[in-house]
């Protein structure tokens, strides 16, 4: 296996890590004002992700840095090409981060309500736009002979990408609600479990629509990178089984299944892309690949050593924090920070 492939896998892992971890806290943010019917409930909801959301978001930052280091051509074309959507995501992440920290630092209810809605909107925007971006990866975007993005802002907002956005919005919202079902107690737990079932039904409908749309709106099947085989089927099955566990109120399994569905979906995406990193449409020859965008072998080798040493260390201590804070959060807790 060449180093470019190693880094393709590593970056796929970083994005999977990002969606698996930040995915649920985006969902939690979206439902915050709805499930949190009073201030105390809102505090409990935020405290379920309190110790984790920042560390979860670092997966994205690391993915960005790793893309820069390993595939500077990809980093340059993608980020300058997707300028405005990325700007919206960044602004949302900025507002979101401070909202968590600021909202409980003043008892004025208007102040709190303002930041709670800020959390909701700033979680909504990335959850929607990541789907738009990923759908465009698969569909392909206009790229010129110098490997620069050749489309405009509106090219990115095509119907297929928008359906992709709605899909990721629903999937991540569901993921967040299922997480709350697992991490809260009493009323909030019951409310979350009920809402999860109500959201699961449209989610599965949208997922099916998106899959059918992919078949008709893109030529993805005719230019697969690696045939993902059973992986997308596994994703769909996990979503179905997840529905069963949501219905039967088995929070742990429900969470695990939705997580598995998200993992397999992102994995499918990267499998179909390989060895491309940004598909060119309508001129497939201009596609960005891991070979025409990568750093030299020396850089990749250095970075591989660094990653092989430190990624396991990060996984170990981040995993440990989830173990430390494994208990359900109760509204009777006297250790609510946010």
């Amino acid at each position: 296996m060449d180093l470019q492939t190693v880094w393709f896998i590593l970056i796929a892992v970083l994005y999977i890590g990002y969606f698996l971890l930040d995915g649920f806290d985006l969902g939690v943010g979206i439902v915050l004002p709805f499930l949190g019917k009073d201030d105390l409930k809102r505090r409990v909801i935020i405290n379920t992700i309190g110790p984790h959301w920042d560390g979860n978001e670092v997966w994205l930052i690391t993915a960005g840095g790793a893309t820069f280091a390993a595939f500077p051509g990809w980093y340059a074309t993608l980020f300058s090409g997707f300028y405005l959507p990325l700007l919206l995501i960044l602004l949302a992440l900025i507002v979101r981060g401070v909202s968590f920290e600021f909202r409980s630092k003043d008892s004025n209810l208007k102040w709190r309500s303002f930041w709670d809605w800020a959390i909701c909107v700033s979680s909504f925007i990335p959850a929607l736009l990541w789907g738009v971006a990923l759908a465009n990866f698969v569909r392909g975007v206009p790229i010129d002979g110098n490997l620069w993005y050749a489309g405009g802002f509106w090219n990115l907002l095509n119907p297929y990408a928008l359906v992709g956005g709605v899909t990721s919005l629903f999937a991540l919202t569901l993921y967040g609600i299922v997480f709350l079902g697992l991490k809260t107690s009493d009323d909030l737990m019951v409310d979350s479990q009920n809402l999860a079932w109500k959201i699961w039904i449209p989610t599965i409908f949208i997922v099916v629509s998106f899959t059918i749309f992919s078949y008709f709106a893109t030529d993805i099947l005719s230019r697969l990178g690696i045939n993902p085989g059973a992986v997308p089927i596994g994703a769909f099955l996990a979503m179905l089984v997840g529905g069963y566990f949501i219905y039967t109120r088995r929070s742990g399994w429900a969470f695990a299944m939705v997580a598995l569905a998200i993992l397999l979906t992102v994995a499918t995406l990267f499998l179909t892309l390989y060895p491309r990193v940004l598909v060119s449409y309508p001129i497939p020859e201009n596609s960005l690949t891991i070979y025409n965008t990568s750093s030299n072998n020396y850089t990749l080798k250095i970075m591989s050593i660094v990653a092989l040493v430190f990624v396991p260390v990060v996984l170990a201590y981040q995993g440990w924090t989830y173990w430390v804070f494994r208990k359900r959060i109760s509204s009777k807790s006297n250790n609510l920070h946010y």
Partner: protein, 457 residues
């Protein structure tokens, strides 16, 4: 305005704004860690309270540093795509390493520190805040390794139209790193110290929580005096490095039009940027040579000669950075640096004198002195970045060739306005909270509103 100018404005605005929060994170994390260490070793509850109070202010500031840092990670690709392609092999590596080694460490262990008071043993809890402090400072190291490469490129070769890395250890061993890193980190420590001294002074002159704030003032005063002294020492080495690696920046910072041997140091100069001649100048003979080479002789090259040398080497063009900005940012940074050293020494003197601190009239001004390190830090970065122009990577790539070819001026104008609006609003909220909690004092710790009831509890 064109894409280049707008992109430069946006980068300057977002980076300066980001660096309002970073130095306090660097310094205050260490100070809180020191306070909790004293608590751990003595078991005195007052130090736990101290760590919690200053920790609350730390958290408000930290959140701003983190979120504005996300923009830094992505805007190279967004606005400087040609740059990203050109340097990605080299510049991307330290950025990725920074995220992997530092960002995970600080964010994860800060979560543990905040939520872990009752869940972790005292030792593990203490370890958490130290890991946050270490993480923040490791982050500074790697981003400065990246920046140092832009100032003084090493360990690379040019392949086609890209710079590629040939020696990773040369990047780390870049002499520029090892003057810039201590200078920057210690400036952060100084910022933390002046922040703690300023807030403590506010309470001391009002005779509130005297014991608590005297101890805080003491820790910060000693920490600050040591830090600012070392900042100045490191700054001296950095200036000598600048004479070697970027003589034009030094000439601009000193408004040195013609080469001199021995070179004089400017006290006050007015220089015509276009005519490249002095209009008015007061200079101290010998001093620039002494500062540059630690001896009273040695040539320091002037702007006119350097411009000729650059033209011979790189072809026609203007190689002189803005003299006004370089010259005055240098003077503000150095001037405030020395002022802070005297103030920190004075603070230590007050502590040694061992009388109530509020007897000193100067204490009333310490809250305002919090602004000094911020002005000084910002001036330092402006000199570093503006003084390197017209280069983005010194001697290799010009800023004018580095921006994104597919981004339009309308897009950059949109993003610049949005950044200014969002950053401006957040600055208000941030300062409002910092002032509120700082004024309320340690009694407010853990409570969302200093004097009132906690809603929902």
């Amino acid at each position: 305005m064109d894409v280049l100018t707008l992109s430069q404005l946006q980068f300057a605005a977002t980076s300066i704004y980001h660096f309002f929060f970073v130095p306090l994170t660097l310094g205050l994390s260490v100070l809180v860690a020191i306070m909790e260490t004293i608590y751990f070793r003595t078991g005195q509850e007052s130090y736990k309270r101290m760590a919690k109070f200053w920790g609350t202010l730390f958290l408000i500031n930290f959140a701003m540093g983190v979120v504005t840092g996300i923009v830094q990670e992505f805007q190279f690709g967004m606005n400087w795509a040609e740059y990203s392609r050109y340097v990605g092999d080299i510049f991307g590596a330290p950025l990725a390493i920074e995220a992997l080694l530092a960002f995970f460490l600080e964010s994860t262990f800060l979560g543990l520190w905040v939520f872990g008071w009752d869940k972790l043993s005292k030792g593990v809890h203490l370890l958490s805040i130290w890991l946050v402090a270490v993480g923040s400072n490791i982050s500074a190291l790697w981003i400065l390794i990246a920046n140092s490469w832009m100032q003084n490129p090493v360990g690379y070769t040019i392949e086609g139209s890209r710079a590629v890395m040939t020696d990773f250890w040369a990047l780390i061993g870049n002499p520029h790193v090892w003057v810039q890193f201590p200078h920057t980190v210690l400036s952060g420590f100084t910022t933390g110290a002046f922040f703690v001294m300023g807030v403590s002074a506010y309470h001391l002159i009002r005779h509130k929580e005297v014991d608590f704030f005297r101890k805080s003032f003491q820790i910060a005063g000693i920490f600050g005096a040591i830090s600012i002294f070392l900042v100045i020492l490191a700054g001296h080495s950095q200036a000598q490095q600048m004479v070697r690696s970027q003589p034009m920046k030094m000439a601009a910072a000193e408004a040195l039009v013609e080469s001199e041997n021995p070179a004089s140091l400017s006290l006050f100069s007015i220089v015509d940027q276009n005519g490249k001649k002095e209009t008015f100048s007061i200079r101290i003979p010998y001093l620039l040579s002494i500062l540059s080479y630690n001896q009273p002789s040695g040539e320091v090259k002037g702007i006119v000669q350097l411009q000729k040398e650059f033209e011979a080497q790189y072809g026609p063009g203007n190689y002189v950075p803005s003299l006004f900005i370089s010259y005055w940012s240098f003077r503000i940074m150095v001037g405030l640096g020395f002022l802070m050293m005297f103030l920190a020494l004075y603070a230590v003197y007050l502590l040694i004198r061992n009388r109530p601190l509020r007897q000193s009239r100067l204490m009333a001004y310490f809250p305002f002195f919090i602004a000094l390190p911020y002005l000084s830090n910002t001036s330092g970065w402006i000199l570093t970045e503006v003084g390197r122009q017209p280069w983005v990577v010194y001697g290799l790539l010009k800023t004018a060739d580095a921006y994104s070819p597919t981004v339009t001026s309308g897009m950059v104008l949109t993003s610049l306005i949005l950044f200014i609006l969002v950053y401006g609003a957040l600055m208000f909220a941030d300062i409002y909270l910092l002032v509120k909690y700082a004024k309320a004092g340690p009694a407010s710790v853990g409570k969302p509103y200093p004097s009132g009831e906690i809603a929902g509890e």
